[in-house]
Symmetry: C2
Subunit: 197 residues, 2 copies
DNA sequence: AATCACCTTACGAACGGTCGTTAGTCCGTT
DNA sequence: AACGGACTAACGACCGTTCGTAAGGTGATT
């Protein structure tokens, strides 16, 4: 299945060098073929990119599902920590996430429409998967009274901040940011259970 | 001063299309000259980029100074709100910030070293300018006891999250993220002054 | 078993374009 | 006379893409 090899190589290169910074020759050489051979499997660069994009979307969605699968077997705080830690753990090795992050941010302008469609789809899914978790925690009187949607928005922003730190600070730096950020976030949303001096 | 016109056009195009996505012909046509004329003012594309980068760094630094100038005439909370609001207000019109943000994130790989140098310099300055503000607020017993550096790190992460939202959500969406995020952040760091139910 | 047609996959060669860059020149200002 | 800034022309390199073709596998027909 050479088409898959091409997609994997393309995803990695797009993630690291961007769309314009990645040539078909570049991709082909990583696979071990010539650039013309790519046309046996794809209509062209744009087609290859779109297919990689859709693969990335699907994989991100199914991964998000997986992480939240075990949600009811653990506490609210554990779930949030898991979501943050998952981002950090995946970033270094998961080309899929790196690609997805970069292309969400700075898509090739002539494919803006299709990229945005994918991004919006993911964000909707993300929002509707996370909201019940916060809603449940409110219902159990664990959190200060606030609109659940606002909690989700703020938490997603926190996740984004960690991702951003991963991009130019690396894994170690992101961990240093995640710890106090989560601490403060949880302090900000939780009903104080133990005395603060 | 045609060199300045070129730098301004280049900054705007680099910000919107990236380094590889911006050609010298593109830049020249925006200025109203031919691409070869750029070589009367710069050694080449890389030289132009580096000069634009350094301009952007200097302007970001001086702007940060300006925003914090009036720090002692306003409250701690006002200062934080001002910092966030400043990011949102500038994003739409300030090409400098857009350029800086994009290139911090995804620099042209063959100029990685020089870009990183600039980014690290800015981050150091940002950290050492913000820390005394939090230190002072702690000293005035406005905040829960925490390491001031951790507070700064978490706050910078919050600023980054807003910037990230600006990039693919736009100004309106960023505002919707900023409001609850700031609310929760302040709740998380402040000593509770009024009762929560 | 041998032949045939067919399909997939890869390749060399080459296309028109655009890229960044260089050389040489012309013109206005100092 | 000297110089800075813009120009025309052209360079080699690389871009994405197309074409024709050759190798290999599959399956049906002889």
């Amino acid at each position: 299945m050479s088409a898959n090899k091409i997609k994997i190589a393309a995803m990695s290169l797009f993630a690291n060098y961007g769309y314009e910074g990645t040539s078909l020759a570049h991709i082909a050489s990583k696979v071990g073929i010539k650039k013309q051979s790519i046309y046996s499997h794809f209509d062209g660069k744009d087609d290859l990119f779109i297919q990689v994009l859709n693969d990335a979307l699907q994989q991100e969605l199914s991964h998000l599902h997986d992480v939240l699968m075990k949600e009811d077997t653990q506490s609210f705080n554990e779930t949030l920590h898991l979501l943050i830690q998952d981002i950090i753990d995946r970033f270094s090795n998961d080309k899929n996430m790196k690609f997805w992050l970069r292309m969400s941010f700075y898509p090739p302008m002539h494919l803006l429409e299709e990229v945005n469609k994918a991004v919006y789809f993911y964000e909707d899914e993300q929002l509707s998967l996370l909201e019940p978790i916060f809603r449940k925690a409110i219902h159990e009187n664990k959190l200060k009274k606030r609109e659940p949607e606002q909690l989700v928005i703020a938490f997603i922003a926190l996740m984004n901040a960690i991702m951003m730190e991963l991009v130019y600070g690396g894994e170690k730096r992101a961990q240093q940011v995640a710890t106090p950020s989560m601490e403060i976030f949880l302090d900000g949303i939780s009903i104080a259970s133990k005395g603060e001096e």
